[in-house]
Subunit: 390 residues, 2 copies
């Protein structure tokens, strides 16, 4: 009451700055917490103010083993902390767990969504992580674009990255279609994948050609990312069985590519079309390119292998062989396969290589360390993009 | 080890789906949690699985009083829950607190950022919240655009919403510049403000004219939202004192408007220029329109009052009066002021009205219930946009 009267006596201007001060104070009770704190030696210290917590842990993408957590230690004024070992330069994600419940780091506004999970992010600086870092170079434009999909009977959303200079000039550009994995959506490559920054940095360094990058939603039952689509009553569960088998793949060819070629200044021939995808997106990439030989001269399959499971109803090895032979005849400038040695699909990737070997179909195999992770997919993008359209 | 061997014996395809199943299982231990659960009567039930927590609360934007929390009650299988009273149809934000530490609702992928805070979001359906809801209507395109700002000596980022049909036609459009408040950035109107959905819905219903909406970053020291700008070593603290006084306002006039008018198909005359802002953005709006009479025919000041504090070094009441008289002479089609009765700046808004009354300067005052909140700013946008360019 007292406080309100004081506020009323102040002018709007003074009250406004007093308010801002109070807001800041509210969210910074006690000493200001710095977290994550990247140390000189490239270890990282995490801190969380949690005086009432019984147990606080951190889980991060640098830890081996899915879901591994490391205890944080309570210290002065209720601040829990832990310091990692020295980390390689990279883009990492992490979360805290307070009494078993996952929470974000309130001192770090860097947050990325992975499906329905939210994690904080931190970059450990160094030569290898520079390509993931926002640098003071010309930036492309990233747009959320809605397009009609008669194939899937809805308006759907995708992201389109146009390179620096697109808005100013009249040049036509090659197009790279970049597909996410299961559990992801059209946001994934733009956030976890760091695509806009990777492309900005590679283009600025003269390492990649200026190109348009199209990032679609590969979930055929969905119009857009969660909460960004009209409610239809249709859910993943009902839609999955009905719509996974070819729906997205057909819509990319029938709806997305024509939309892009109609609405952007693009070079619309096979030499100027590339496609790549991770995990489920690697399966989509195979399905699309096998069924449409001669459409793409650059093909990338990340963390996905040969899909030769007899339980996959409509799979025929004979048909697959024929498709690859047609692809081979039509010519592909680069067929790139990337997989981590610890990826649970590693054997599948090796089998895919063997399948192509047997057909004398040229490909390039990039074997990295690590597993089925965004660390690898960012790395693959930063290595593959410079190879496109050269 | 056993598990790995089994995985290796399966094909890539089977392993892939097994993996997806495991990922889902990991994040849905125990029974599937539904939260938020909007009940038939428009109360909302919140649930959180937290078997190891000692105390769980929820804080939501429907509660009166900043930072109010309501206890959740532990139930079977470690699930805490609480049901609200019946809520008005609206877009709400909320968070959980577990043993005093704020956490997101892991069952709800709807998350919005407010400065460095992250909250979940939920829409209570009804006539009043329909305009905030994603509907199956034509959608505009939202782009993250970088533009040169010689005034602030950096490349800066803004959002540009182009209305449905922009990409297809040749028509020119009016432009609405929409400014955020202190603590926000260029993301704020696009997320918390629901601007793309509000505009899509108003345009589809024929209530608002198709227009371009430009959402800038009003923090003169920043290039873009946190983590989206190159590291410069410059911080809010060092930049604030140097750059708040007119820097952003000048850059909007000198850099942003020319960029938009050069790069988009716009109607570039006063009748087709509107500007509005909330809180600090309402201050920016006043500064910009007072200093540039005849530039905008539509002006909106949301939750900001008369800034007549003598401590504001360069303020002169005489000068202000002269500016408003010039503005009056140049003509403004709509000068719209909105403020909530419980806003701490309400008295300032009333003083602004009185100041204009004394000068016989026409304005419209929209007094709403509530305070200095996004609930009001979304409401104001949905009421103001239909009044523009008519």
């Amino acid at each position: 009451m007292m406080k309100k009267q004081i506020l009323l006596r102040l002018s709007a201007f003074a009250a406004f700055f007093l308010f801002i001060f109070q807001v800041n104070a509210q969210f910074q009770r006690g000493p200001r917490i710095v977290s994550p704190d990247v140390n000189e030696n490239c270890s990282v210290t995490f801190r969380l103010m949690a005086p009432e917590a019984g147990k606080v842990t951190v889980s991060g993408s640098w830890m081996s083993g899915w879901g591994t957590q490391v205890d944080m230690v309570p210290g002065d004024s209720g601040v829990w902390s832990v310091t990692t070992a020295v980390l390689d330069p990279d883009f990492y994600t992490y979360s805290f767990y307070v009494n078993g419940v996952k929470t974000l780091d309130p001192a770090n506004p860097q947050v990325v969504r992975d499906g329905s999970r939210f994690d904080n992010a931190v970059i450990v600086p160094g030569e290898a992580s520079k390509v993931y870092t926002v640098q003071d170079v010309p930036h492309g434009i990233l747009s959320k674009v809605w397009y009609p999909s008669p194939t899937l009977d809805k308006n759907r959303r995708m992201y389109v990255y146009t390179p620096p200079g697109y808005e100013e000039g009249k040049a036509k550009y090659p197009v790279f279609y970049l597909l996410h994995g299961a559990g992801g959506d059209e946001d994934a490559w733009t956030t976890l994948g760091r695509t806009p920054w990777i492309m900005d940095n590679l283009i600025a360094a003269g390492k990649a050609k200026p190109m348009i990058v199209v990032m679609t939603n590969g979930n055929a039952w969905a119009a857009a990312a969660p909460g960004e689509e009209p409610a239809t009553g249709e859910t993943e569960t009902t839609g999955f069985s009905q719509r996974t088998r070819g729906g997205f793949e057909n819509s990319l060819v029938n709806d997305v590519i024509p939309y892009i070629e109609d609405h952007y200044r693009v070079l619309s021939n096979p030499e100027n079309r590339a496609i790549a995808g991770l995990s489920m997106g690697g399966m989509h990439t195979q399905n699309i390119t096998n069924a449409n030989p001669g459409m793409f001269d650059y093909i990338g399959v990340m963390s996905m292998g040969l899909m030769n499971d007899p339980r996959r109803g409509n799979y025929s090895e004979e048909e697959h062989k024929k498709q690859i032979l047609v692809l081979k005849e039509n010519g592909v400038k680069l067929y790139w396969i990337g997989c981590g040695k610890e990826d649970f699909l590693y054997e599948g990737a090796i089998n895919l290589c063997k399948f192509y070997d047997a057909l004398d179909f040229d490909y390039e195999f990039r074997e990295s360390s690590g597993g089925h992770t965004w660390a690898n997919w960012r790395l693959y993008l930063s290595e593959l993009a410079p190879r496109l359209f050269q």
